[in-house]
């Protein structure tokens, strides 16, 4: 059902193993290096003070983190072909950066019904959990507000391509706080199974690829988000509701 491609996994971007073995290039960004040294040092001291086997293990990890901070080189990043060395803030999404997501779902409704829901962009916050609001400014332009980790994030977007009942494509306008581009495709599913809906989204996560990685570990990555949003879309369109158990009865098991 789902495919996810993060550009950092593209084989072309990955440094060839033999080429980097000799040159242990810096691939950890400035602030992250400082954090690495501080946490690593702390862990090493704490671990040594504990003086037992697990303490020793902790000290080892701490020492490795400290070393990583000092040298600015991380083997894990290297193996993954990624880097947190800062890139300038830009509105476009340069190749090799950003996150690209593809997600599909089949909905037992006609392309016409699904398209017309989506084309009224103001409907989208009903199915996209991250969105606070969308206001259509004129035929092609719209203003988007989303929840962010540090307050709301806002941007203007424009529709750059539209084929009725088939496709809507948009991107954030130049100078926006968030650089994003996306499209949604509606295609009749074989065997009277409704419509295959595919969303393609690319954007630059706020903290770069490291941020995307951390978000993934915390289960809040945009891929999961889009998948859940599409599921909500399907549920709302098919059943007219989004099933929930919030607010139902349960016990406490307190004595």
């Amino acid at each position: 059902m789902a495919t996810m491609t993060m550009s950092r996994f593209r084989s072309g971007d990955r440094p060839a193993r033999h080429a980097v073995d000799g040159a242990r290039r810096i691939n950890v960004g400035g602030s992250e290096r400082a954090i690495s040294v501080l946490t690593g040092g702390g862990m090493a001291l704490y671990g040594l003070r504990r003086g037992n086997l697990s303490g020793l293990l902790l000290a080892g990890i701490g020492a490795a983190l400290t070393y990583r901070g000092f040298t600015g080189h991380c083997d894990v990043y290297q193996a993954l072909g990624m880097s947190s060395v800062g890139h300038k803030k830009q509105t476009a999404i340069p190749s090799g950066q950003g996150v690209k997501i593809e997600e599909s779902v089949t909905i037992l409704k006609s392309p016409e019904e699904l398209f017309s829901f989506w084309r009224r962009l103001e409907n989208l916050p009903r199915v996209m959990r991250n969105l606070v609001s969308v206001h259509e400014l004129d035929g092609n332009r719209s203003h988007w507000v989303a929840w962010g980790l540090a307050g709301d994030v806002e941007w203007d977007a424009e529709i750059i391509n539209e084929r009725p009942n088939e496709l809507i494509a948009w991107r954030s306008v130049d100078g926006s706080e968030v650089a994003t581009a996306g499209s949604v495709h509606f295609q009749p599913a074989p065997g009277d199974r409704g419509t295959e809906v595919k969303v393609v989204l690319s954007y630059n996560p706020p903290a770069g690829q490291v941020g995307a990685g951390i978000a993934w570990l915390a289960g809040r990555d945009p891929h999961t988000q889009i998948r859940e949003d599409l599921r909500t879309f399907k549920r709302l369109m098919e059943t007219g509701t989004v099933p929930t158990t919030e607010g139902q009865s349960r016990g406490t098991c307190h004595l």
């Binding site: 999961t224 007219g240 099933p243 349960r250």
Partner: protein, 390 residues
């Protein structure tokens, strides 16, 4: 209201909890007049099913009276007596439209969680862990029924609560198990397990055209019900070698269809197989014990059907797939498609072709449910099924 809450592995409490509210215009609230403990509740009780949380209300079988209905509910009226499908289905998605209600795309609010475990989403089930939606269960005085027009069915006046209660889960489950065998008339069907679902499978196999049903268990009281009430030929696996007996009873062919009404807590008759499964289950390496499936694959006639009704939970090894392949067996399985089968079994009951009320060996007030679970699990006092009265 009072409700049976799971408070940890092997721990149940009847607690005072808030009464349910309408959360969606397609909901109804029913006042439960009869509910019961299912064999699969024992899997939950024993901690074999992950994602149950302390405080969860158990139970998925219920008969009751509609006391409140959401704005969009038109087909049900206040005061109406209904039986509710244990499986919750939206009625709108492609699977529901093709009557595969237990595969509903939309009724499980925790789809993301189930996707992590199973790689796919199936329907929500009342009181059956958060994997299956985390819906509050039926062992309570009141229950919220989501998508009520799809899952709640009017009970004909002439039917008793006991009869109707069986149509909530065990009868449609047994019926689907027999229906999955695609009987055309004249078949010999073997049913492993004479618990409530197994007994319903025997009744159903006859209703759907089986010539003879052979029932296998080791509890005399259950075998007695299988033979005396349901008309099956019975085998006690403590006394006879099942594979040999089945060959003898089928002219050497083996049963045309084999129905498993036992599931993940099967007791093997092969000491080493059983030890192997129990060890793996104890070490959390696999949640299932497979003795019954192995025996079914070995015993089934060539080209026959294996139909699984007992609940299985995870991945398992040592399945004799080679034998199944050589014999061209068909494997059918899964949770029952409640709204597909409930009208059929209700009609069989109404017309007097089946009376499933005989399975209830005990009646207890809801407040004694924890004792009921223990009694049912340990098969004390010849317990077959317990009706709970809120």
């Amino acid at each position: 209201m009072k409700a049976v809450c799971w408070c940890g592995k092997g721990k149940l409490r009847v607690e005072e909890v808030p009464e349910p509210k309408i959360l969606d215009p397609q909901d109804v609230i029913i006042r439960v007049t009869a509910t019961t403990i299912c064999g699969s509740d024992l899997h939950l009780f024993g901690g074999y099913v992950p994602t149950l949380q302390p405080g969860d209300i158990l139970g998925h079988e219920m008969v009751g009276q509609v006391i409140e209905a959401g704005d969009q509910v038109k087909k049900l009226s206040l005061g109406q007596r209904v039986v509710v499908s244990s499986v919750i289905a939206c009625g709108h998605c492609w699977h529901c439209r093709t009557e595969e209600f237990s595969l509903c795309d939309n009724s499980n609010p925790n789809a993301w969680l189930q996707e992590r475990y199973h790689g796919c989403v199936s329907a929500g089930v009342f009181g059956f862990s958060h994997l299956f939606g985390g819906y509050a269960g039926a062992q309570a005085e009141y229950v919220r029924v989501p998508f009520a027009e799809v899952g709640a069915f009017a009970v004909p006046e002439e039917m008793s609560d006991e009869q109707a209660l069986s149509c909530s889960d065990i009868f449609p489950t047994g019926y689907m198990g027999a229906d999955n065998c695609d009987l055309r008339g004249g078949e010999i069907v073997a049913v492993w397990g004479c618990g409530p679902v197994g007994l319903m499978a025997i009744l159903s196999a006859y209703l759907l055209g089986a010539e003879r049903v052979i029932a296998i268990d080791n509890l005399p009281e259950r075998l007695r019900l299988a033979s005396d009430v349901c008309g099956a030929t019975t085998l006690n696996h403590n006394d006879v070698e099942v594979a040999e007996a089945l060959r003898d009873l089928t002219g050497g062919r083996g049963p045309d269809a084999c129905i498993d009404a036992v599931g993940m807590e099967a007791h093997g008759t092969d000491v080493w197989d059983d030890l192997y499964d129990r060890t793996q289950q104890t070490l959390m390496m696999q949640p299932d014990r497979l003795a019954v499936i192995r025996q079914m694959i070995r015993c089934c006639r060539k080209g026959g059907t294996i139909s699984l009704l007992g609940v299985y939970g995870g991945t398992s090894d040592k399945l004799p797939l080679g034998i199944a392949f050589v014999k061209n067996l068909r494997l059918r399985m899964g949770n029952m498609h409640g709204p597909k089968y409930i009208p059929r079994v209700l009609e069989h009951c109404r017309a007097g072709r089946a009376n499933p009320a005989f399975v209830y060996s005990h009646r207890l007030p809801l407040r004694l449910a924890p004792e009921g679970y223990t009694m049912f699990r340990n098969k004390e006092d010849e317990c077959v099924k317990i009706l709970l009265q809120p």
